[in-house]
Each structure stands twice: as structure tokens, then as C-alpha cells.
């Protein structure tokens, strides 16, 4: 019987051979032909760990680091390793939490990152907590302290100009064409954003091996393919951090802005925007909370008013008007105007003038020192009605070219993002508003820096620099040089070019105006801002302004404006100050500017002057309407929140009967300088911000 079936052994052998051939064929397919498995194994097991470079440090003019890197520590836990032997009580005592909270955080960690991967247990530890944990870490197996680089502002100054960093969002990633990735930190505002390419450096990559639970277990191929991170480069700036601190101190509890520029270089010495805040609020663990608070404040602390606040320059414009008339040969320094308290040439008796005594505008110097409205209105009309050009419209266009030369009405190109351009209206706009029928009488208040004219504080400071330099300027900027600068760094080239915009105006004309500006301090409207031993040239401004509050166009207290430069010979600093709704120009803005000038030139303040600085700093000049506005915003948001969630806890606060009173009318009720309010199209609301009330 066995012999009978002998042939079947061959069949069995053939079956064996057949299956082995099939297996071999599949192995050839998998291992030799198909390439995708190698890549799949790489994706599985090799993790490109990005090494973030240190961002560049920003130094001030005396090489003090005003924006630095620091290491803070996160307490990180791997829950599976922290199950037993952890001295929970000791840990809770150090972290100042209870055991229930400890358990809650543990559960959260496991939920978020699984039990075998590390998650943050407590982030950004305070120095004291770090020290105590570091000492006792052996008691807490499974816990570890992991360093994390953070940005710090050691002088607590420069929030708006230095800016802050944050994680790149989808918009940034899209715009960078994939250069940035999720989790990257990127400069979001201020210099951090403008100099992002210089500051950020170059990312490095370490190829790590990970296991099936995404734990990193070691270097791949001994780090053969790793690339090292290249640190960001440092920036040397013109900022004097002590002046900057003083400027911010003076703007406490005020809405406004200060810009101080070195005229010879265009380097910005200080730039502050009120209300001020500590930039360290936007780093560290409380970052999001603080940001929301600042973002929802109607006084907009996050808005850099030095470049984004647009104000009517008021009387601070007058030196420019005088210069134009001198250059055009329309007047001489001895030109006088008989002002009896108001300007009558246009038949409406406006604008009025604060002075009515005879001879207060007997020549250009006196008119400047006394800030005579009639004089400069007249000078403006002379300029635009210049018979040389034939007609007010051509004359106005010519006048407007001077404005452009002074850097008004367009962005001057400072090294900060999102600068505003102010407003010098063109003839087309006037034609549209007045249907082509207008004369120099229609917009005569342009001569005293009102009407539709708007300028940012940095523009005003820059115009002051042009006067101080007698015709030229460098674009205002912060950065003097980049550490390790090469030919490829073209970012600073624009700031090293001298703009000879108005050098054709004769020195005598400049001298006449500058003398007038010196008289402003010595004998004129800004005697209160006089600094002993420093020859300062200045111009005050008390600018009328309006705002739509509760649907009504309301006249608010005047903006206190001031421009100045010092010393007269060889100017070292030019300052522009705006304090919103603070009243008379010299009282607030003038005194603040004088303190900054003194601080910068003598590098110190006397005790008496320090007292004055404290006095100004402690004065609360926040406009009264903000209270009402804040209430409105908050209650609207509370209502929307209620509609969205049916949660009444927030809106209840606003349902009490004693709602705050209607917006306060300008407090001291001083008579406004100008009674004739311009036509309805004005855009005098100083700035507009789009608010999207999303975060609560």
C-alpha cells in the first residue's frame, strides 16, 4: 500500500516548493521592489527634534541689555514612573497645592499625553520654587525640571517698541511659505517683528529615535545628520533705557505718547505710549491672561500711539508754516501782523487768539513765542494764495509738497511694523467736500495745525529734527547696528541715508524760526518748561479735538502738545510729546519734555526735578469718557456671552440700577480756542481700532 502511493511524496514536495516560492516572491516585492517601507520605517521611528536657537539680545546705547533671554523651568512628570515612592505631601507643600489638585493634574497629564510620555505639571516656576524643587527632586521619581527659554525685559520698559513673541499661527505660517512651523515662536509686534529675521537665528535639527509610544530613546545614527542651531544676532540700539524709563513713568495714568530722537542720526532715544504696561506681563505663565486684559482695555495700552496715534498738531505746526513763508519769500523775519484777539480777514472773526495785547505778533519771533493764531493763519493764507501759482488750488498743492518734505501725511518708514501715516488732505478731498468751491478762508485753520491735518508723534518729532538740522533728516529708527553685520544685511541701509529735504531753505530763515522757538521757552508760552543751563527751542500746542461719544459729537478737553529740541547749537535731542485731553500744552507735555531733555543731556535729574517727575507721574489724566466706554464694551460683551452660553454670572454685574453716569464733559470747562467747528466730515477721532470681542 505504501509503494502504491509513493508518487504522492513528490506531490507533497511540490506543495512545499510552491509555498516557499510564493513567500519568496512576496519577500522580493516587500524588500527589494517596494521602496515605501523604508520611508514608513523612518517616519515611524525617526523624529526630527527641532532645536530652537537663542533669540538675539537688544542693547541700548550704553550696552545695557533691555531685551534678554532667560531660562525658566517647567516641572515635568512622566505619570507611569511617578506612581509609587513619590513624596506627594512634600511636593504639594513646595508647589502650594493640595493633594486633590495633585491628583487632578496627574489625571489631566495622563489624559493629554498618556502615562508614558512627559507632560508639564507646573510651568514657569518661580526662582524660589525652582531652588526648593531642585534640592528635593530625588524624593519625586518621575518628575524632572526642564529648562525653557523665555524673553525677559530687565528694565521693565519698552513694551510697545520692543514688542513680544508668540507662537506662529496659521496666518504667519502661510505667509512665510512654510518657513515657520507649528510651535515656532515668532516676533508678533514691535522690533521683535520688524527684526525677526535677524533676531531669530537658524533652527537646528536633532534626529532622534522614538519608540512605539513616541518616547525619545536616543540619537539616530549618532547624530550624523544633525544640524546645529545658529543663535540670533544681537541688536545695538540708540535707546537710552533710563530716558525710556522716565518717559514711561511720566506717561503713567495718561493717554498719549512721547518720542525722543537724536537729530544728527535719526536714532530714537525713547518712545513711549500711554497708558504704559510692564512688558514682562506678556512673557511667562500669565501671558494669555494679561494679554486679554490689556486687549480688552478701551484705553488700548497695546496700541503704540507714538506711531499709530494720529493727532491734530495744533500750534506745534506753526514753526513749519513760518518756514514755508520765509522760504517762499512771502515774509521776512521782521514781518508783523496786527492781531487784536481774533483773525478778521475772512470775515468770520475766527480763529480767536489767546493774546489781544498790541504788538504780541510784531515780528516772527514774537508771534512764535506768543503763539499768535492770527499771525500764522495769515501766513498760511499768504502761502496758498501766492499769486506766483495762480489760484488757491495750485498754491495749496505747492504748500502740500512742503508738508511731504517735512515728513507729514505719509509713513516715514520707522523700523516698527504698522505705522500710521497721519493726514494732510489733498485738493481732491477739499474739492469733493466743498464741491470745488473753496478758498484759503475755508481751511484757514490748517495754518495753526487744525482742520483735517493729523500727524503722529513720531512725525512731529521728525519734523522737529528737520528744523534742528536745518533741512535734513535721517529716518527715525532704533537700531544702530546688527552684531556681526555683513553686506547681506540690507535692512539698515534705508536708515543710513541722509534725506536733504529742505536744505534749500536759507540758514537765516531757520535761525529766525529757531530763535522764535527759543523765545517760546525763555519768554513765551513755555516758560514753565525752562531748564536751567540748557538752551532749549520748543513750541507748545493746545489742540482742539472731538470724539463721537454715545452717538454725539462731543468736544473734549484739548490735547496737550509739545515739540522741542536742545541744545540750540549742535542739537542732541528732539522731543515730541502728546498728552490726550490734558489741557494746556506747556503744563503737561512741556514739563514732561523738559525733564526728558534734561535727563538725556545731563544724564541726571536734580532732587527738585525728580520731585516734579514724581508729581507728574502720579497725576491721573485719563480722559473721563473711558469709564463710560469701558462699561459699554464690557456690558455688550457680557450680553453676548449670556446669549451664547445662558450663563448669567457675568451679565448680573451689569444689571444693577446704579449704572455709571453719562460721559463727563471736559472737566475744567476752559473756553476752546476755536469756536468755528469745521464741517462734518472731520475725522478728528484720534484713532480707530477694530475690536473683535472674542476673548472674555
Amino acid at each position: 500500500m505504501s509503494v502504491f502511493n509513493q508518487s504522492r511524496s513528490t506531490v507533497i514536495r511540490l506543495i512545499f516548493i510552491g509555498l516557499f516560492v510564493i513567500i519568496l516572491a512576496q519577500l522580493i516585492n516587500l524588500q527589494l521592489i517596494s521602496g515605501k517601507y523604508k520611508q514608513a520605517a523612518m517616519d515611524n521611528a525617526v523624529y526630527p527634534k527641532v532645536v530652537y536657537p537663542n533669540r538675539g539680545i537688544i542693547y541700548d546705547r550704553k550696552n545695557r541689555a533691555i531685551l534678554n533671554n532667560s531660562i525658566m523651568y517647567d516641572l515635568v512628570v512622566v505619570p507611569s514612573q511617578a506612581r509609587k515612592d513619590v513624596d506627594t505631601m512634600a511636593l504639594c507643600r513646595i508647589l502650594e497645592i493640595d493633594t486633590a489638585e495633585y491628583r487632578k493634574r496627574m489625571v489631566e497629564s495622563i489624559f493629554k499625553n498618556t502615562a508614558v510620555r512627559p507632560s508639564v505639571f507646573e510651568d514657569l516656576l518661580s526662582a524660589e520654587m525652582y531652588a526648593r524643587l531642585d534640592e528635593n527632586l530625588w524624593k519625586f521619581p518621575g518628575f524632572d525640571l526642564v529648562p525653557r527659554p523665555v524673553r525677559v525685559y530687565p528694565f521693565k520698559a519698552g513694551a510697545n517698541l520692543l514688542g513680544y513673541i508668540g507662537e506662529a499661527d496659521s496666518g504667519v505660517i502661510k505667509r512665510s511659505k512654510g518657513f515657520y512651523r507649528m510651535g515656532d515662536y515668532v516676533g508678533l509686534s514691535g522690533m521683535e517683528a520688524y527684526y525677526e529675521k535677524v533676531l531669530m537665528g537658524q533652527r537646528g535639527v536633532n534626529y532622534m529615535i522614538k519608540d512605539n509610544k513616541n518616547r525619545l530613546v536616543g540619537n539616530w545614527e549618532n547624530g550624523m545628520y544633525d544640524t546645529a542651531a545658529i543663535a540670533g544676532r544681537d541688536l545695538k540700539t540708540y535707546i537710552d533705557v533710563e530716558v525710556q524709563q522716565l518717559a514711561e513713568k511720566l506717561l503713567q495714568n495718561k493717554v498719549g505718547a512721547i518720542v525722543a530722537i537724536e537729530p544728527k542720526t535719526g536714532g530714537i532715544i525713547a518712545m513711549a505710549s500711554g497708558p504704559v504696561f510692564d512688558p514682562n506681563l506678556l512673557t511667562g505663565s500669565e501671558r494669555q491672561k494679561n494679554f486679554n486684559k490689556l486687549f480688552l482695555d478701551v484705553s488700548s495700552p497695546l496700541l503704540n500711539r507714538a506711531i499709530k496715534g494720529q493727532y491734530p498738531p495744533g500750534s506745534t505746526f506753526k514753526p513749519l508754516g513760518g518756514l514755508i513763508a520765509l522760504d517762499e519769500g512771502l515774509i521776512t523775519p521782521s514781518f508783523g501782523y496786527g492781531c487784536g484777539g481774533r483773525y478778521g480777514a475772512c470775515g468770520i472773526g475766527k480763529p480767536a487768539c489767546t493774546h489781544s495785547n498790541a504788538g504780541h505778533a510784531a515780528n516772527l519771533r514774537l508771534a512764535t513765542a506768543n503763539s499768535c493764531n492770527s499771525y500764522f493763519t495769515h501766513v498760511y493764507r499768504m502761502a496758498v494764495d501766492n499769486p506766483k501759482y495762480g489760484g488757491v488750488k495750485k498754491g495749496y498743492e505747492h504748500w502740500r509738497e512742503y508738508m511731504t518734505a517735512f515728513g507729514l501725511g505719509h509713513r516715514i518708514g520707522i523700523d516698527l511694523p504698522s505705522e500710521d501715516k497721519g493726514n494732510i488732505p489733498d485738493t481732491a478731498l477739499y474739492n469733493k467736500v466743498y464741491r470745488g468751491a473753496w478758498s484759503s478762508c475755508t481751511n484757514l485753520t490748517l495754518g495753526i495745525g487744525q482742520d483735517m491735518m493729523l500727524a503722529t508723534p513720531v512725525q512731529l518729532a521728525n519734523a522737529t529734527c528737520i528744523i534742528a538740522n536745518k533741512g535734513y533728516y535721517y529716518t527715525p529708527h532704533f537700531v544702530e547696528k546688527i552684531n556681526g553685520e555683513t553686506k547681506e544685511d540690507t535692512i539698515l541701509n534705508a536708515f543710513r541715508k541722509r534725506h536733504n529735504v529742505l536744505t534749500q531753505i536759507s540758514d537765516t530763515a531757520y535761525e529766525a524760526i529757531i530763535s522764535g522757538m527759543q523765545d517760546v521757552v525763555d519768554i513765551g508760552t513755555a516758560r514753565i518748561a525752562r531748564v536751567e543751563g540748557i538752551s532749549m527751542c520748543a513750541k507748545t500746542g493746545t489742540a482742539q479735538n472731538f470724539k463721537v461719544i454715545d452717538g454725539k459729537r462731543t468736544e473734549l478737553n484739548e490735547n496737550s502738545m509739545f515739540i522741542c529740541f536742545a541744545p540750540r547749537e549742535n542739537p542732541k535731542i528732539a522731543v515730541a510729546v502728546v498728552v490726550e485731553n490734558a489741557g494746556y500744552g506747556a503744563t503737561w507735555a512741556g514739563r514732561m519734555a523738559s525733564l526728558l531733555v534734561e535727563k538725556f543731556i545731563t544724564d541726571s535729574l536734580t532732587t527738585e526735578r525728580k520731585k516734579l517727575a514724581d508729581e507728574i507721574a502720579n497725576k491721573n489724566l485719563m480722559p473721563g469718557y473711558l469709564v463710560r466706554e469701558q462699561y459699554k464694551q464690557d456690558s455688550i460683551r457680557a450680553y453676548n456671552w449670556f446669549k451664547l452660553t445662558k450663563d448669567t454670572s457675568v451679565i448680573k454685574r451689569f444689571q444693577r440700577r446704579n449704572t455709571p453716569a453719562a460721559p463727563p464733559i471736559p472737566a475744567d470747562g476752559r473756553t476752546p480756542v476755536i469756536k468755528n467747528t469745521p464741517p462734518a466730515i472731520n475725522n478728528r477721532t484720534t484713532f480707530k481700532i477694530k475690536r473683535t470681542a472674542t476673548a472674555i
Partner: protein, 448 residues
């Protein structure tokens, strides 16, 4: 056979012994590669007996001792005790029901203390093989008679059914490999052909749209009738046979398979079969879905699809030469589940690439061919049947296990002989092989 001087080396087939040693050594190396971590002391690792590779090395030593004992045993002992050992095997299998410990979804393991455990279903293969050989070699057995065929089939199938009841489908399937022995001993080829055809039909049912498959089957039937039209003219009943085959096929495809899938098999088993052939399984109702979730929950990565994908990535990424024993990222970092046991072939595929895999396949192939050669040179039917049993069991394990890791077979948990980690499996295969070597050493004797 002289018992005076029991020289155990006499007549032993050394080729088999060497192949055995090589395979077990490869196995220990592969287990070492998956368990060893940088910085561990290797010597300490082997001596501590706590690591898997050191345990496997210990099992190798135990297996060696067992092999020597088997070689020292008289061949007649195996024929004499074949039936009793089968009975003992059955008892052990049944004892699992009251005494089992459920470990990772299987109910087939008896535990003694904390470290030693026994899987009777594994061990039983040896006893069934002995019993089947004993039955087939009886003088009074006439294997041409259906009654004898049925008894032989029952010997193999009964333990398989018990094993299925212990949720060890994979191990149960192994018993079907004994059909190969019966085929060699005269079971009509028709059985195998029909079985194979049904299997192909079932897989086709799952893969192909039902109506399309019915059309294909009908077309095949019509074509057959067309080609056999002359024969059919002569013999009318041929037409009847073809039509009934067609009817049965369509019946299976249309009714039997859907019925079995919906009513007989558990949802998770159906899902596993679908995973294997690469189709998405949509549970028919919420209850079935819940049951799948229940079955898959708590088990370590029981998702067959995931296993096979990771396993294919591991083997595929090995390339031609492989990454080196300790450099395989897939197998070193636990991406392939069960890689010490059922998926150990991945370690070799990734570490040594196509060359290494082919050499391993070559070793198995050589071993199987050698066993068939040995079988054919036996004088006694018992030895021949037993040898074919060994070949069939080994072949089934190797084929299914490797096909599973490269995505050609469903994920059923059976080990790779001599290589996979596991004491019971290694001892079982050692017994299987060394009883054969012992029998072969006495090939001049006629055993009954």
C-alpha cells in the same frame, strides 16, 4: 537493535540535529535583538534568567536534555505508548477548562505557580501525531475504506475542536495539517482538491461582488459544458454533475458564507478575517459593534491590521542586506507587537534583509525536504506516517507564520518553530523532531 551498548549517536541523522541547533540559535539571537537595550550587561542578562533571551536559552538547555532522553529511549516505547499518550493529551486538553488562567484573551493555558505555564493544545500535537501514525500503521486498518478514513480524521479533528473551544483558532488549524499525512497514506486527492476549492470560493466571496461572482461561476460552468460537449453527448450524467457543482458553488457563495459570517462566527473573528484580506468590516448592528469593542479592549494592540502593517514595514525596510541585528528601528522600539513570539520573523527580515530571510527560508526548506526524504526511507509505516506528520506540522507553522508577517495570511497566533519565544512551543517541536530522529535511527526495524 542491540540494547547492550546504547550508543545514542548511532544512526542519528546529524543534518537534522545541526539544522535544529542553528534554528534555535537564530531564535535566541532574534529574541535578544528585540529585548536588549543599550547599556544592559549582556553576560548579566544571560545569567540573570530574567530577560526573555536568557529564559529562551534556558529552555534550549532543557530541550537539549529532553532530546538526549528521547534519543536514549527505545523506539518501541513510542509505538507502545502512542494510544495512552493520546488519551493523556486529551485529558490535559480537557483539564484546561476547569483550571485555565486567562492570559491576553486565550483560555488555553494552565499555570503552575507564578512563572511556569503549560499550553496543552501545543503539546498535544505530538500525541496526535503518534496516535495517528499508530492507527494508520495497524495491520487491520484498511485506509481505502471510508470508515478508516473517518476514524483517522476524527483522531486529528477532535483535539482541534476542543482547542477552538479554548479560543485558540490558530492552534486548532494546525491539526488540519495532518490531512497531508492521510493524503500520503492514500486519502483520495479529491478531498484536498475539494477542500482547497471551497477555501478559494470562500475568499472569493469576500473579495468579489456577489452578483459578479455568480456571473463568473455561471460563465465557468457554461465554458466547461462547451469544452466537454462531446463527452457530455456520450455521458449525459456529466452535465448533471457540472450543473450540481455550479449549484453548490453558488449556494455557498450566496447563502452558506453569509450565514456562517453572520450567525456562526463572532463579530471580532469576522473583523479579523476582513482585516486580513484588506477589506473594511462594517458591523451589522450596534450589538456586534459593541462586541468587537469589548473583544479588542484590554488586549494589547489586537488590531490585526496594525500588526500586519507594522510587520510589513519592518520586513520591507530591511531591504537587501538588512540594517544589522541591533539596528532595526521597527523591531527595536516595539512598533511590531508580539515580535518575540508570533512576529519574530520581522526581526530577521529587518535586521538581515532579503539575504537573511532567504537563508532562513532555505534552512526550513532543507529541513522539510530532509524529513520527507527520511520518511520515504522508513521501512515501517508507523515511522513514515510520523515523519510525514512532523513535516506537515512544521510546514504548516512556517508557512502560516511567515505568510502572516508578510501579509499573505490572516493573523492567527501560531509560533515560528524553534525561533519564537516560548518554552512550551520549543519543547513541543523538540519532542516532535527528536522522536523522529530516534525512529529514523532505528529505521531498519519494523515498528507497529
Amino acid at each position: 537493535m542491540s540494547q547492550q551498548n546504547p550508543a545514542i549517536s548511532k544512526g542519528i541523522d546529524w543534518l537534522l540535529v545541526w539544522l535544529y541547533i542553528i534554528l534555535v540559535s537564530i531564535g535566541i539571537a532574534a529574541i535578544f535583538a528585540t529585548t536588549y537595550r543599550e547599556g544592559d550587561s549582556i553576560v548579566q542578562g544571560f545569567l540573570s534568567l530574567k530577560t526573555d533571551y536568557s529564559k529562551q536559552a534556558l529552555f534550549f538547555i532543557i530541550a537539549g536534555v529532553l532530546a538526549i532522553f528521547i534519543l536514549l529511549t527505545d523506539s518501541k516505547f513510542f509505538t507502545a505508548t502512542a494510544n495512552i499518550s493520546y488519551a493523556i493529551g486529551m485529558v490535559l486538553l480537557l483539564l484546561v477548562f476547569p483550571f485555565h488562567t486567562e492570559v491576553m484573551g486565550t483560555k488555553s493555558i494552565i499555570r503552575f505557580g507564578s512563572s511556569f505555564q503549560l499550553q496543552p493544545a501545543e503539546l498535544c500535537k505530538v500525541f496526535v501525531n503518534l496516535a495517528l501514525a499508530k492507527y494508520l500503521s495497524r495491520i487491520e486498518t484498511d485506509f481505502n475504506k471510508p470508515k478508516a478514513q473517518l476514524i483517522a480524521i476524527a483522531i486529528a479533528i477532535v483535539p482541534a475542536l476542543i482547542t477552538i473551544a479554548q479560543s485558540e483558532t490558530g492552534l486548532a488549524l494546525v491539526y488540519f495539517s495532518f490531512f497531508l499525512v492521510m493524503y500520503r497514506e492514500g486519502l483520495p486527492a479529491m478531498y484536498l482538491v475539494v477542500g482547497f476549492s471551497v477555501a478559494v470560493l470562500v475568499v472569493a466571496t469576500l473579495l468579489i461582488e456577489p452578483n459578479l461572482l455568480a456571473i463568473i461561476l455561471t460563465a465557468l460552468a457554461i465554458l466547461t459544458i462547451y469544452f466537454l460537449r462531446r463527452q457530455i453527448k456520450r455521458r449525459r450524467e456529466l452535465l448533471f454533475i457540472i450543473v450540481s457543482i455550479w449549484g453548490v458553488c453558488v449556494g455557498i457563495q450566496r447563502f452558506a458564507v453569509p450565514y456562517v459570517f453572520e450567525n456562526v462566527l463572532k463579530p471580532y473573528q469576522v473583523k479579523r478575517i476582513y482585516d486580513t484580506i484588506g477589506k473594511e468590516y462594517v458591523p451589522k448592528d450596534e450589538a456586534a459593534k459593541a462586541e468587537i469593542d469589548k473583544q479588542t479592549k484590554g488586549k494589547k494592540k489586537e488590531d490585526g491590521n496594525y500588526n500586519v502593517r507594522q510587520s510589513k514595514i519592518a520586513i520591507g525596510s530591511g531591504g537587501f542586506l538588512g540594517k544589522g541585528l541591533l539596528s532595526g528601528t521597527q523591531t527595536r522600539y516595539d512598533f511590531v507587537p508580539e515580535q518575540r513570539t508570533d512576529f519574530i520573523f520581522c526581526t530577521i527580515g529587518e535586521g538581515f534583509g532579503f539575504i537573511g530571510s532567504t537563508i532562513l527560508l532555505g534552512i526550513y526548506f532543507l529541513m522539510l525536504m530532509r524529513i520527507v526524504t527520511i520518511a520515504e526511507r522508513q521501512r515501517s509505516v508507523f515511522s513514515r506516517c510520523y515523519a510525514y506528520g512532523v513535516a506537515a506540522v512544521l510546514f504548516f507553522h512556517v508557512a502560516i507564520n511567515i505568510c502572516m508577517t508578510i501579509g499573505l495570511a490572516p493573523v492567527i497566533g501560531i509560533p515560528l518553530p524553534f525561533i519564537s519565544y516560548g518554552g512550551t512551543a520549543l519543547l513541543t517541536f523538540t519532542m516532535l523532531l527528536f522522536i523522529l530522529i530516534r525512529l529514523d535511527a532505528d529505521r531498519q526495524m519494523v515498528l507497529r
